[in-house]
């Protein structure tokens, strides 16, 4: 019992330290306590790429009546990406979540038969630096009719 108790205490402390160390290389610093890590800003233009190659802004009507803001909700401003905003937990975390959100939208819109994939062109400034641009792409949707 005594040994187990000591092992548990030591294990919890080691785990906490390990999570702090992990946070330096992970997109999401879970239990790493890197609070207010950056003052980066970002905005994104998100489009649906359809079977005929058209690129349609997600703010335009969507087959099945879907809306990007409804699908993604208010989480960290991902639901209204066209306005420049602060990357709350750092730009890497935001890009990681936006990438996940594209996949989420691609897999939660079963009534949409025309969208092959979603793409986000993200412009961000890391701590007030020069603008950088990156393009994120969702997984392809097998539901899209050829």
């Amino acid at each position: 019992m005594r040994v187990a108790r000591r092992a548990l205490v030591a294990g919890l402390i080691v785990l906490q330290v390990a999570l702090v160390v992990r946070a330096y290389s992970a997109d999401q610093a879970v239990f790493g306590f890197q609070m207010f890590p950056e003052s980066s800003t970002w905005r994104a233009e998100i489009v649906r790429v359809t079977t005929d190659g058209a690129r349609i802004d997600v703010r335009e009507p969507w087959p099945g009546g879907y809306r990007w803001s409804d699908l993604v909700g208010g989480f960290r401003g991902l639901g209204s990406p066209s306005a420049e905003r602060h990357a709350t937990a750092g730009i890497d975390s935001t890009l990681d979540f936006l990438d996940e959100a594209l996949d989420y939208a691609a897999t939660h819109t079963p009534e949409d038969r025309e969208t092959v994939r979603l793409e986000a062109r993200v412009t961000f400034r890391r701590n007030g630096g020069d603008p950088e641009t990156v393009t994120l792409v969702s997984r392809n949707r097998p539901e899209a009719a050829p």
Partner: protein
Amino acid sequence: MTGGALPRLRTTAERWLDGTGDVRAIALLRIAAGPIVLIHLRPFLEIAADGGSWDDTFHVPYAAWYPALSGGAWRALLWGAVAAAVLMSIGLFTRAATAYTAGFVAWNLFLSQTHFHHNRAFLVILLTGLAVLPVGRVLSIDAVIARSRGRPLAGAIGPLWPLIPMRFSVATAYWASGLSKLLDPDWWGGVVLQLRIEQYGSSALDRGAPEWVIDLLASEAFMWWFAKVVVLTEVFIGVGLLVRRTRLAAVWVAIPFHLTIEATAEVQVFSLAGLCALVIWVTPTTRDRTLVVSGAGWARRLGAAVRWLDWTGRFTVEQSDAGTAVTLYDRPGGTGAPIVRTGREAVWFVLSRLPLAFPIAAPVLPIRSRRGRRARRRNSRSTAG
């Protein structure tokens, strides 16, 4: 490290790992944790009130195997957590209520990566500690009921070991945050903070921050220095809390630190939880100091105030008209005999141990204590002479 330091460290570690202590002070955190949990759950309650569920919109599971419930089952568990948080706070069925609250908040946190915020992780750490420690045996309805049945609870005596990881993780929230900023040239150089002030300046003004403060903070030269103060403050709080000699100072610094953050940033429950969590640093013993006051005038009023405001159970208050107006028999000193403080030194010492007076009394105490030590030395020399 001197020759005696290592054995002392070992003795202390063994006392904490294998010993028991009185965690009455942490019952205060239990009481405060109920409202904090309700504030934390508010966004989820808004979803539930509309008949929704956490997984109606974008979410990212941590692992496919994680046990997730949604819809009505999740809403039922959520409302259960609300009830449990209230019960935890008032101290009714405290053990079960605290365990349920901690379990739900942790489970809900890990349902989706989108639920994660540092303040929520901090809250989970606190709730887990509360669930393990015997914090329901005092300052609770459970204790009142037990007393009324003639079977009073055994007090908040329990094993101290859960406090070790709890304290370490709480301190980590500060030192890890400070360290990450220390290693980031943009933070250390003031760029991050300056941009943040530009972004949130108007919000801070709305919250009552003076305009001249915001103007000053927006200055690049000021921010270069101020960033270093902020970073080193965080590191000091985190490390200072872990070291006994600097603990009181770290607790004191943490108070304005949290108040400033609350006034200038959106941190959900972090400020509230951080301030309330400071009670975990109270030494886990109670009534080990005796305050003797005379039965008249300000000394009598001091005694009454201490009885009301000594929420962490530091003092036994006794009345005696023999001797000085106020005498404090403190914990034993190096000689093994209690340190005796009298007059203003005793008053400031007592005030520094009352939660409400601590922010004002703690900075005065070192000055008063130094004078008191000098006086005691003079007295002992004259006695010996």
